[in-house]
C-alpha cells in the first residue's frame, strides 16, 4: 500500500493534542488551497509570472506545514523559475504537477476530519 502524501507531525508540534484545532487547521487548508491553486493557474494562463511566483511562495508555507514531501522541493523550484521568468514550459509543468498533487493531498486529508 502506498504511504500518505503528507505528514501532520509538524502541525502537531504547533498544536499539541488539540484535536479540535487540528480539525480547524485542516479545514483552513481545504478551503484556502483551492483558491491559491486557481489563482496560480489563472495567472500562469495569463502569463503573469510574478503572480505565479507570489502564489507559489504562499503555497510553500502550507506545503511545508503539511510536509508534503514530493512538493517541498518542486514549489521552491517553481518560485525561483517564475521569478526569473524563463523556461516557461517547465514553469507550466510544475504548476500542473503541483496542482495535481495538492488535489490528491486534499482528497486524502479530507478523510482526517
Amino acid at each position: 500500500m502506498k504511504g500518505k502524501l503528507y505528514n501532520l507531525s509538524q502541525i502537531k508540534l504547533f498544536l499539541g493534542d488539540d484535536q479540535q484545532q487540528l480539525g480547524n487547521m485542516i479545514n483552513i487548508f481545504l478551503n484556502e488551497t483551492p483558491l491559491m491553486l486557481k489563482a496560480m493557474n489563472d495567472n500562469f494562463s495569463n502569463k503573469n509570472y510574478d503572480e505565479v511566483r507570489f502564489y507559489a511562495h504562499k503555497l510553500k508555507s502550507s506545503i511545508d506545514l503539511f510536509q508534503i514531501n514530493g512538493l517541498q522541493l518542486d514549489i521552491r523550484k517553481l518560485e525561483a523559475l517564475a521569478q526569473e521568468q524563463k523556461d516557461i514550459p517547465t514553469i507550466g509543468r510544475y504548476v500542473s504537477d503541483i496542482t495535481g498533487t495538492l488535489e490528491n493531498v486534499m482528497q486524502e486529508i479530507s478523510k482526517e476530519t
Partner: protein, 460 residues
C-alpha cells in the same frame, strides 16, 4: 476591511502583550496565532495584509510578526511605515525567503530580527516575545522610577515657601525648563542650587536623559580635564582602559557644574571650546565626539566681579550666563523660615518615628531673628537638633541653638574698605526690606536722602 482575528487568554492590561501577526497565508497565520496565544498574557491579532496592520497601529502593538511577501504591499514597505509610526515597535520579519541580502536590507531598515519559515520559527518567535516582555517590564520599572524622580523634583517639592521671592523664582525655573538655554544659578551656600538644577532638568524635555553633576572645586586641577571629557587607554600612566567623561555621560541630558567660579583658567578655555564647538575629544584621543547637553552652572560668587578681577574668562562668562537665576538667602524670605522649619520638623519626626512636635511662639521668634549664613541647610540642622533636644511635644526657644558664625563675622573675614562694607550693609538692608527706603532709613537711623545718595553713588 476584514476584521482581525483576536485570540487571548486573560486580558490583564498591565501584563498582556499586544501582538500583531501579519500573514496572508491563513493557515500559517492561524497556526502562529494559536501558538502565541498559548501564553494567556499575549493578546494576538491576525491581519492578512500590510494595510490592515498599518490601519491598526493606533492600537499600539508591543510586537509585530510580519510576513515579507504580502499582497499589495511588500513587507519592506510595511516595515518602513510601521517604523515611521513608531520606531520603538519591535518587528520580526518572517519569510519563506531564504535570501541573506533580503534579511540584511530588512535589518538595516530597523527589523528586530529575521526568521525564515521552518520548524523552529514558532520557538524563535516565542523566545523573542519572552525577551520583549522582559525588556518591557524593565522599561516600565525604569519609567516608574523616572516618574518618582520627576515628582520628587517638582518645583513645590524642591523649594518650599510662600514668599514673593520664591514665587518669582518658580516663574524663572519654569522659563528655564521650557528651552535649552544655559542656566546660571547664583546663591549663597545652602540656598539649594543643586536642587534647583535637578528641578530644571527633571521638569524639562531632557528629563529622560542623564543629569550629571560635577563639583568643580572637588576635582584636582590635574584631573579635571579627564573627568570632564574622559580619556583613551594609554593616555597617561595609569590609564589602563578607556573612560567616558562626564560630558559624554550627560549627552542629551543636563550637566551641572557647581562652583564654576573655582575653575582653573586653563580649563576654562578648554570648556569654552567644547561649548562653542559642541564637540569634545577624550584626553589622549583624536576622534571628536558630538556633545549635546544643557549646561547649568552654579556659584556662590559674583561671577561678573570674578571677570573684572581677571579670575574668570569674559567670553566663557557670557557663554554660561544664559538665564541667570538668583536664589534668595533665607534671611530675605520672611515667613518661609517658619514654613520650612515646620516641614523639616515633621519630616524629621516622621523619619525617626517621633511624636509630632510643635514650635512655641518664642522659638518661632528666635528662628525669625536669626540671619542663617548657612541658609536652608543651616535651618534644617537647627531644627533637627531642636527636635532631639526637646523633651516634650513642643520645641522651646531653649532647644534652638545657633552656631557661632554669623553674617557680620563672615563679612569681616572678607577684608574690605569702609566704603565696601557700607555698600554691603546698605545692599543687605535694601534686599531685606524689599527696597523700602523708609524702613531702611529707620533701621540704620539715617535720613532718607542719605540713603538715596548712597544708592546713587554705589549704583545699587
Amino acid at each position: 476591511m476584514n476584521k482581525p482575528y483576536l485570540y487571548c487568554g486573560k486580558t490583564n492590561m498591565m501584563e498582556s502583550l499586544r501582538v500583531f501577526i501579519v500573514e496572508d497565508n491563513k493557515l500559517y497565520g492561524d497556526m502562529l496565532r494559536y501558538h502565541l496565544a498559548l501564553n494567556p498574557d499575549n493578546k494576538v491579532l491576525l491581519f492578512a495584509t500590510g494595510k490592515e496592520c498599518i490601519d491598526n497601529l493606533y492600537q499600539n502593538p508591543d510586537f509585530i510578526s510580519l510576513d515579507y511577501s504580502l499582497p499589495g504591499m511588500l513587507g519592506l514597505e510595511v516595515l518602513k511605515k510601521i517604523k515611521e509610526f513608531n520606531p520603538e515597535i519591535p518587528v520580526v520579519m518572517v519569510s519563506g525567503q531564504e535570501d541573506i541580502t533580503t534579511a540584511v536590507s530588512l535589518l538595516k531598515e530597523g527589523a528586530y530580527d529575521y526568521f525564515v519559515k521552518d520548524e523552529d520559527t514558532k520557538d524563535r518567535i516565542w523566545n523573542t516575545l519572552k525577551k520583549i516582555r522582559e525588556n518591557l517590564q524593565l522599561k516600565q520599572e525604569i519609567d516608574e522610577l523616572k516618574n518618582e524622580i520627576g515628582k520628587k523634583y517638582e518645583f513645590e517639592n524642591v523649594i518650599r515657601g510662600n514668599s514673593r521671592v520664591i514665587h518669582q523664582l518658580f516663574k524663572l525655573i519654569e522659563k528655564a525648563t521650557q528651552t535649552n538655554i544655559a542656566v546660571s544659578l547664583i546663591g549663597e551656600t545652602g540656598t539649594g542650587k543643586d536642587l534647583v538644577a535637578k528641578a530644571i532638568h527633571y521638569n524639562s524635555s531632557r528629563k529622560s536623559y542623564p543629569f550629571v553633576a560635577i563639583n568643580v572645586n572637588a576635582i584636582p586641577n590635574e584631573l579635571i580635564e579627564s573627568e570632564f571629557f574622559g580619556y583613551e587607554k594609554g593616555a597617561f600612566t595609569g590609564a589602563n582602559s578607556q573612560k567616558i567623561g562626564k560630558f559624554e555621560l550627560a549627552n542629551k541630558g543636563s550637566i551641572f557644574l557647581d562652583e564654576i567660579a573655582e575653575m582653573d583658567k586653563n580649563m576654562q578655555s578648554k570648556l569654552l571650546r567644547v561649548i562653542q564647538e559642541k564637540e569634545l575629544t577624550r584626553v589622549g584621543g583624536n576622534a571628536t565626539i558630538k556633545f549635546d547637553a544643557r549646561i547649568i552652572v552654579a556659584t556662590n560668587k559674583d561671577l561678573a566681579e570674578e571677570v573684572r578681577k581677571g579670575n574668570f574668562r569674559e567670553d566663557l562668562y557670557y557663554r554660561l550666563l544664559g538665564l541667570s537665576i538668583v536664589l534668595p538667602p533665607l534671611r530675605y524670605r520672611g515667613n518661609d523660615i517658619l514654613i520650612l522649619a515646620r516641614y523639616f520638623l515633621d519630616d524629621f519626626c516622621n523619619e525617626n518615628k517621633l511624636e509630632k512636635k510643635s514650635i512655641s511662639p518664642k522659638a518661632k521668634e528666635k528662628l525669625m531673628n536669626h540671619a542663617y549664613p548657612g541658609n536652608v541647610r543651616e535651618l534644617k540642622a537647627i531644627i533637627e537638633l531642636a527636635a532631639v533636644m526637646s523633651n516634650n511635644k513642643v520645641i522651646e526657644a531653649d532647644n534652638i541653638s545657633f552656631t557661632k558664625t554669623n553674617l557680620l563675622t563672615d563679612m569681616l573675614n572678607n577684608e574690605d574698605t569702609l566704603s565696601g562694607y557700607t555698600k554691603k550693609i546698605l545692599k543687605h538692608y535694601l534686599e531685606k526690606f524689599d527696597n523700602n527706603v523708609m524702613k531702611v532709613a529707620s533701621k540704620l537711623d539715617i535720613g532718607k536722602s542719605t540713603i538715596y545718595r548712597m544708592i546713587k553713588e554705589n549704583e545699587l
